[in-house]
């Protein structure tokens, strides 16, 4: 029994050790990272959060792990889960290669980690969001604001802090497929720009700046084209670094209607 206690103590010490895994050990392709991001958001972020740091004592986004000393260990943990904790086994839901893809996303997060040096104030951020930033002109949060742009009520549950910051500074850097804008001209010469909601061979559906859900037969249009640039302005010169940090903090706090 004594020997057993000694073993468990040693094990506990081992568990408490933080292993830093290098982000440069492997080369991951953008598509692999993108697949990993989607799998992470679908399977992991509900508990770990989009930055991988929502579970107390666990930080998946900075390459520092308590239970893993290699990337293979991480795959094994995802596969088998962690007995005695809320971490389930994913061996039935995910293939080996999918789990490795998620680990590739961990590497990406570590290489693109957000800075914690200047945490913002979400209360001040909300004031900027609704005031100086004029964000509600295009975005909505819980029925407040415009529905033209993407609803942000749960943006903090699905997007990383660094991604939110980048969207504010470089809106054209990444436009998700579902946030694309289209411009069309009817046979009557009316021009309408809006966010694409769906399209098929014969028709197109969008929401315009007046928040009208519109559907057109393509045969009734003179022009129909994607707008390649985001209508969102950059906030690089509109907000100072402190205001930007406040705004990002507010966005991170938006976890959906049940997740505050």
């Amino acid at each position: 029994m004594r020997a057993f206690k000694l073993c468990t103590s040693v094990f506990a010490v081992f568990l408490a050790t933080i292993n830093t895994l290098s982000a440069k050990q492997q080369t991951d392709t953008p598509s692999e990272v993108n697949d990993g991001r989607q799998l992470f958001i679908a399977n992991c972020a509900v508990c770990h959060g989009p930055d991988g740091d929502s579970v107390p004592g666990v930080d998946l986004g900075h390459g520092k792990f308590k239970r893993a000393s290699s990337y293979d260990d991480l795959v094994e943990i995802i596969s088998a889960g962690v007995p005695g904790t809320a971490m389930p086994a994913f061996s039935k839901e995910l293939s080996d290669i999918e789990m490795r893809t998620i680990v590739a996303y961990f590497r990406f997060m570590a290489a693109n980690a957000y800075s914690t040096s200047a945490p913002g104030d979400p209360v001040r951020g909300k004031a900027i969001f609704e005031g100086k930033g004029e964000c509600l002109n295009c975005h909505s949060v819980k029925n407040k604001g415009s529905r033209l742009g993407p609803d942000l009520a749960e943006i903090g549950a699905v997007r990383r802090m660094i991604e939110l910051e980048r969207s504010l500074l470089e809106p054209n850097a990444e436009i998700l497929l579902q946030n694309r804008m289209v411009r069309l001209v009817t046979r009557d010469g009316i021009t309408i720009t809006g966010r694409l909601l769906n399209q098929d061979t014969f028709s197109v559906q969008l929401i315009d700046s007046k928040e009208r859900l519109l559907s057109f037969q393509k045969s009734s249009l003179k022009e129909y084209a994607f707008v390649d640039k985001s209508p969102m302005p950059t906030y690089r010169d509109k907000l100072n670094p402190g205001e930007l940090a406040d705004l990002v903090s507010y966005l991170v706090s938006l976890k959906g209607i049940g997740g505050q």
């Binding site: 293939s95 579902q178 769906n198 399209q199 098929d200 061979t201």
Partner: protein, 546 residues
């Protein structure tokens, strides 16, 4: 001829045809002469030539705008509904996933009986689907997800025999409609993502006893075995998951064989890996190989050659020739001599970046560096292929071959190490689409250049595209053509439509609310022509407004 006169002629013709054929037992002679009784649909692709072309002509380019819904059958299953129904003398037989057979009144959709087989195992890669039945006399035949072949009494839905074709534990499955030739029922085994050793086998239709078997991966001592390094043949894949065809004059049956295993890593299977990704021509009585042609030697892109072999007789360079027309998942359209297997023509029908063309024997000339890699290699067509299992059609009247195509698709092919474990995935990597192809009914946000689906009409003599009907989303809908030069198809975005088969002009469409994932078919009852297609989990049947 005005519309009313055309209708009258059509009804009289149909009645005469009906009167000349005794109803009831479906003899093999009836199956061979299925084109002479176009009111019925007696085998998966309409006839054993698999042209999916019907001689019914009541629905025409002039009146197709009057098509309207006649009835819907809603499957009690949320799996993909991929079956093509059979229709025999007013009775329709189809399969809702995974393995439930239904007999319906083909004019009203009312159910006569159902038969349910509940697969106890089965590990299909891509859904617990079933693509249809075969019939001989009064017996229906169904392959199952757990790799059984079951004979069912067509009158009352009672099982007559149940033969285990292969081990479900090892991930063998059967998803395609069997093919009846003479007194035999022929089925093949799927499981190419699980390291099976595929085979095609013929069973006595009345006893279920195996009559012959052809291994798609040759064993020691068999020709072609030398194309597999080491023991790789034991787990080499070579699945069969689409119904073959039959030429009664040559007495040859033709089948497309799927990918070698593991899919994306060929390191442990050096060689051409026969007969994966090949068409095989077998003697229908013995299962002996007469010839083969391999479309994609040593495939590492999962370019299954499981397309339905379409048999056609046409003038070829001034002489009549019996050919096979084949739009392959690898992006090339082929014409082969079906008596000898001679390569006559190969031409891309979508963008192809893995091969530059063919040598004089018809072997593809590979492009350097176009192999899967650890970091991913971008190849067109992408993993879903330029086309796949969705039935093409050949219309002898227009002389055109119609392909359900994925245009501008590409994938990153990723290679990874893999070890065989019985019944477990054995793919050796993965593939990544360069743009998302969400499953219906997801909204579509793609630009055209990011990939689209199309019906492409190709002149078989040249491989040149005559016309194209573009869809905003990709397609898994098969194609039906009729003697009135109509073409029916659909796509993932949830439309079922009719085109002018000569021009590609859109003539009619119906919003069916979910992806068309089956081959349309047509039949008639009491002189009224119907067109049937599955979309989502429903079977839709259309006919002209009365």
């Amino acid at each position: 001829m005005n519309a009313r006169a055309a209708l009258l002629v059509s009804v009289v013709l149909s009645s005469l045809l009906s009167a000349s054929i005794s109803s009831g037992q479906v003899s093999f002679e009836r199956i061979l002469g299925a084109d002479k009784e176009p009111q019925n649909w007696l085998t998966y692709s309409g006839t054993t030539l698999s042209q999916r072309h019907s001689l019914l002509n009541q629905i025409t380019p002039a009146n197709v705008k009057n098509l309207e819904l006649q009835w819907i059958y809603q499957a009690r299953s949320l799996e993909k509904f991929e079956a093509t129904p059979l229709v025999v003398d007013g009775i329709m037989y189809t399969v809702q996933a995974p393995n439930h057979v239904i007999a319906l009144d083909a004019a009203t959709g009312r159910v006569f009986w159902t038969y349910s087989h509940h697969p106890v195992r089965g590990r299909p890669c891509c859904g617990r689907v079933n693509r249809g039945l075969a019939i001989l006399d009064d017996i229906l035949f169904m392959g199952t997800i757990d790799a059984h072949l079951i004979a069912i009494d067509a009158k009352n839905g009672r099982p007559l025999w149940d033969t285990t074709v292969a081990s479900a534990r090892s991930a063998y499955t059967i998803t395609h409609a069997p093919l009846v030739i003479k007194d035999k029922v022929i089925v093949g085994t799927a499981g190419g993502e699980y390291g099976i050793r595929g085979f095609l086998a013929a069973y006595d239709a009345h006893t279920g006893k195996e009559v012959w078997r052809f291994n798609t991966i040759p064993g020691p001592g068999e020709p072609g075995h030398e194309t597999w390094g080491g023991d790789s043949w034991k787990t080499g894949g070579g699945p069969l998951w689409m119904t073959g065809s039959y030429d009664p004059v040559l007495n040859l049956t033709y089948w497309g064989v799927g990918n070698p295993s593991p899919d994306w890593n060929g390191d442990d299977r050096p060689g051409d890996n026969l007969y994966s990704d090949s068409v095989i021509a077998l003697d229908a009585d013995t299962g002996m190989l007469k010839w083969y042609y391999q479309f994609s030697p040593h495939d590492e892109f999962d370019y299954d050659a499981v397309q339905v072999p379409v048999l056609a007789d046409m003038e070829w360079q001034g002489k009549p020739r019996k050919v096979i027309l084949w739009a392959n998942r690898n992006g090339f359209f082929y014409v082969l001599d079906r008596a000898t297997g001679q390569f006559l023509l190969g031409k891309p029908f979508v963008a192809v970046t893995w091969a530059s063309g063919f040598d004089e024997k018809g072997r593809p000339v590979l492009l350097p560096g176009k192999v899967p890699s650890a970091e991913g290699t971008l190849i067109s067509p992408g993993n879903p292929g330029g086309t796949s299992w969705y039935s093409p059609s050949y219309n002898p009247r227009t002389g055109l071959f119609y392909i359900p195509a994925w245009v501008n698709s590409s994938s990153l092919f990723v290679k990874a190490p893999v070890k065989y474990r019985e019944g477990r995935e054995y793919a050796g990597g993965t593939n990544r689409s360069t743009v998302a192809f969400d499953w219906s009914p997801a909204p579509n946000f793609r630009k055209e250049e990011e990939g689209y689906g199309a019906v492409r009409a190709v002149d078989p003599h040249t491989g040149e595209m005559r016309w194209e009907f573009k869809m905003a989303d990709v397609t898994e809908g098969g194609i039906l053509t009729t003697a009135s030069d109509l073409l029916f198809s659909g796509g993932r975005e949830g439309y079922f439509f009719a085109l002018d088969a000569r021009s590609g002009e859109l003539l009619w469409k119906a919003a069916v609310g979910a992806a068309v994932q089956s081959g349309p078919m047509t039949y008639s009852v009491n002189g009224k022509q119907y067109v049937a297609v599955n979309a989502g989990t429903c079977l839709f049947v259309f006919g002209l407004r009365q």
